[in-house]
Amino acid sequence: MNTYFVVLLILFGGAIISFAINKVSYLLSGIVAFIATASATVFFYLNVDTDNFVQFSLAGFDFQWGLNSLSLLFTYIVLGLGTLATLYSIQYMRFKNNLGYFYFNFLLGIGSMMGILFSQDFISFFIFWEIMTWSSYLIVVYNGNKTHKIGIKYMIFSGIGAYAMLMSIVMIYADVKSFLIADYIDYISQVGLSGHYLQIILLIVGFGVKSALMPLHVWAPKAYANSPMGYTSLFSGALSKMGVYGLSIVLLSLLTNFNTGENVSLGGLFEGINAEFIRIIVQWLGAITAVMGTLYALKQNDAKKLLAYSSIAQLGYIITGLAIGTELAVMGALFLAVLHAIFKGALFMAMGAVERQAGTTDMTKISGLVRKMPFTFIVTLMSIIALAGIPPLGGFVGKWLLYEGMITSGHYFLVVLIFFSSTAAFLYCYRILFGIFLGQEEKETINVREAPISMLIPMLLLAILTMVFGTYPGLLFEPIANAMSYIGYNDVVWEMSTISNVWGDKVSLDYVSLTIFTVFIVAMIFLTIKNYKGTRYVTTKDISTSGEMPTENENLTFQLNFFQPFERAVAPLYKRSMDKIYNTIGESLDALFNFVRTIYTGNGQTYALYVIVFLVIMLIFKDSIFN
């Protein structure tokens, strides 16, 4: 048996078993899911071999499965996060119904993602892509009732994306007569890109939907926010990365490497399109995505939704980096892709823990959980620091590489846009920490306790990873450099804990971490020892409110309209949202469709008239129709 088949068999088999076993015990189903992912992970990494390709034929097409170094990088995300998320879900989902259904789709999702990464041909890529889509759809609507609109939106956009991709794939097949990705790349390298731009644009649309690129992102916030958090960590962390994976192939293998000196236009509607143009468009779309995602994130009152918008913004960075395509930018983008999986996975898990323990993640309803859930708070804090890109945690490395990649390659205004986004990101980063963990301790949350240990372990592991990668990004640079060799960047130079740009400037992260931790620890020791006896904890009700003693019923929590002045300052940007535009389109289409179906009047005579009219028209125009 082959590694790939075995891995998929374990995952899909695990899916079916955990579906079946749900009747026996609610815990068992989760445990089976965890065992399945864990064993698949272990088995996979014991037998991983990038040169091993499997070929077989189905339905008259040649299929090829294998691993390249790029997909190997993404398997870390999928399997790593998948294992942790299943472990997390055992307790998180404990009191919910339909666990078999949940884990079935969960494992199906992981399996199909692995399938996508194994696929070296477009058609199995697409098949797994679709399985991933509908299995994730089924989880998006898992919570029932109000999620169905979200689910449909998700499915519509996924459908648009997937079918754009399918269209491109069949066009590719018509050209190349083969579904193999490698063949297509070869073909493009021989004949050039001219005449194939439509295929590439469609592929970008297809992958763009999953990675929530700007005009196609509207499904994401609610879909992320409304699935069970155990899955959302995977959804936002790994599933969206499949779009990034696809985009990195399209933008880098296809667009970047073969556009040298080429400027042939497609003609007609696509006059003037060339590879550079597409890349610029994608860059700007990515940057706008980042900005808008951030701006909408800081408006949210629900932590989950906030994080969902933040995910969109982060994916915007990644896509911009990929579209820029210089070595540093790509490295930064891939680094951020992995890091985003880690910290966003941890964050969603933490929010899940809050939701499970406190009943909601609506920041207007809860606050002051830091004493109740200290570990969850630490995880959130570290992940947020990583997300904000503040050294010494991992997010900084990715952002640094990205910025340097942009500056050194001359994308100055893009840098400013991205920078604006990431500065504004501080706002929502603070919001989520403050809204849930800090502030007044509310009486509603008095009985909240820390999440169970099996939920904390995955979260803490991820949080520690952000720290490790912040000081020793080289651990991650190695697979990234390998991956980049697959998409055409050979001899990527990297060091264990130093990042440097093409101008020769560098940041030594070990020095950074050393300084920060030393100073921090010295300060901490000083501050803690000094006046140790005089230092006391008081409750959050004991604050200086003009000499008043706030009573239980007095609301001292500041949560609503949190960034109202800022929102006022950027009000013009909120005026038009894609949501509104799509709603308008949807409503007009609805009206049109309603109008169209009145053709079927219900009167049999009218139908008979149609027949006669059709016949007469045909007979009159027969010469022009036939001939």
Partner: protein
């Protein structure tokens, strides 16, 4: 007994008329005989399909008159495929309706007689080699279909039946007119002979005849402006009948149009015409399906849309496209069959068959809902279900001919399908339960079996499409081999 294609027509027809006699002996015979007949026909299908794949097309002369004078049956890989498909669907529907309560309430006898006649007629259309005979079979299909549509003696059933009848009668008038013109110009009714001689007809007349035929059979095949009957008939007919329409009756109409274009007439532009009509049909139907509140009606529009796509596939006309078209037909039969069969349990007690009444039924009827969802997944073309492959084949065929707009439209339509099918799935599973558990009808065991057969088939073909692709290839070859067809009918038998 030598197995020959005649059995396809003789046995069910005979059975249809014998059933009332046996019913006098024991009521149970009414139900059992159709099953035996269909099982036998399935056996015939298997034998004949094997024979066809080894020895080629089988032509059977009836009543000893050699073609072009006598009536003959042609069991080629193409027509055989469709006949087998119909038989199979007939069998599945029989299993389903064996104890279908609503049919039991009404006189089951009539149902089975009409049902067998429907199958006879449809298979006759597919197999016959004589165009007037085809007309007769069409009328058999028609009359039994009208009656089945208004099988429930309620208000709307009668209305739907009457509309169907009105258009059907129109169709037969037009077809008869076409036959008259055809006969008056070349003096033959044998299809192979017509194919041989069609170049003798003046082009203008030929085109007129073609148009008459297309319009006539287009009514049966649900082509756009002619399909006003379809949503009503589908929505008002009993559940199994809806499945039978989409799996059997419509296929027959489609078969004729394909024959007309591929074999009988050689008219320039007819392929493009088919593509355009298919697209219009699909677009209008899917768009109409979008806002339906009636589940059956939605399925009906979806069915029309699917047939439009089949038309498109055959309009492209390459071998790959024909394979795609046949695959689409197969998928349409089994998937839409499954959808109709399962949906009739979902809206069992709701006379208006409202989608909103499905709310939360997934909890009450888990298996039926699951199968419905499976069907919905398959019909919108999600892998790894069978619907995906047919759509892929079609797209590849279109891409091969560089019909990019076509791909785009088909895929946009697929998105529309996603919208309305997933709306139903959402209703089924992710809404609060409204229905009391007493109000739902649990499916009987035979219904479960029949639906499961279809469900398993959907998954099996989806995972391993090679199950059917070889048959499809043969069928496509047979359809494209016009000379072979003529030779087979006229030469081989004359010798």
């Amino acid at each position: 007994m030598v197995i020959s294609p005649v059995h396809y027509i003789a046995v069910p027809l005979l059975a249809a008329f014998v059933i009332p006699l046996f019913a006098k002996l024991n009521r149970e015979f009414v139900r059992i005989i159709p099953g035996i007949v269909l099982l036998y026909l399935s056996y015939v299908s298997i034998v004949l399909m094997n024979q066809v794949s080894s020895t080629g097309t089988i032509s059977e002369v009836l009543a000893g008159w050699a073609p072009p004078f006598g009536i003959n049956l042609v069991f080629s890989a193409f027509s055989g495929f469709l006949a087998s498909l119909m038989t199979f669907m007939g069998l599945v529907i029989w299993i389903y309706s064996y104890r279908f309560k609503k049919i039991d309430d009404e006189p089951a006898l009539k149902f089975y007689v009409l049902f067998l006649m429907l199958i006879t007629g449809a298979i006759g259309i597919v197999l016959t080699g004589d165009i007037f005979n085809l007309f007769v079979f069409l009328e058999i299909v028609g009359i039994s279909a009208y009656s089945l549509t208004s099988f429930y003696r309620n208000r709307d059933g009668a209305e739907a039946g009457f509309k169907y009848l009105l258009l059907g009668a129109f169709a037969s008038t037009l077809i008869l007119l076409g036959i008259i013109l055809l006969y008056s110009s070349i003096g033959t009714l044998n299809m192979a002979d017509i194919a041989q001689k069609s170049h003798l007809i003046p082009t203008s007349l030929k085109v007129s005849i073609f148009i008459l035929f297309v319009v006539g059979f287009g009514i049966e095949a649900e082509m756009f402006p002619l399909n006003g009957w379809a949503p009503d008939a589908y929505s008002q007919a009993p559940g199994p009948v809806g499945a039978a329409f989409s799996g059997i009756a419509v296929k027959a109409g489609m078969y004729v149009i394909i024959r007309l274009i591929y074999t009988l007439f050689d008219i320039e532009g007819s392929f493009q015409f088919l593509i355009v009509m298919g697209l219009i049909t699909t677009i209008i139907a899917e768009v109409s399906a979008m806002k339906q509140t009636n589940l059956k009606r939605m399925l009906a529009y979806s069915s029309i849309g699917q047939m439009g796509i089949v038309m498109v596939a055959f309009g492209i006309g390459t071998r790959e496209a024909i394979i795609a078209g046949l695959f689409l037909m197969l998928n349409h039969a089994i998937i839409k069959g499954l959808l109709f069969l399962s949906s009739s349990y979902l809206v069992y007690n709701d006379d208006n068959k409202l989608i909103s009444s499905l709310s939360g039924l997934g909890k009450r009827l888990p298996l039926v809902s699951f199968l419905f969802a499976l069907g919905a997944f398959a019909i919108v073309g999600l892998p790894p279900f069978s619907g995906f492959w047919s759509r892929l084949y079609l797209l590849l065929a279109a891409a091969d001919k560089e019909l990019i707009y076509l791909i785009a439209i088909i895929l946009i339509i697929a998105v529309i399908e996603i919208v309305y099918y997933f709306r139903v799935i959402n209703k089924l599973y992710f809404k609060d339960i409204k229905v009391k558990s007493d109000d739902v009808q649990k499916p009987s065991i035979n219904a479960v079996i029949s639906m499961s057969i279809l469900g398993i088939l959907i998954i099996a073909i989806g995972i391993y499409p090679d199950l059917v692709t070889s048959y499809l290839g043969n069928a496509a070859d047979a359809l494209l081999d016009k000379a072979g067809y003529i030779e087979n009918v006229l030469v081989d038998i004359n010798n």
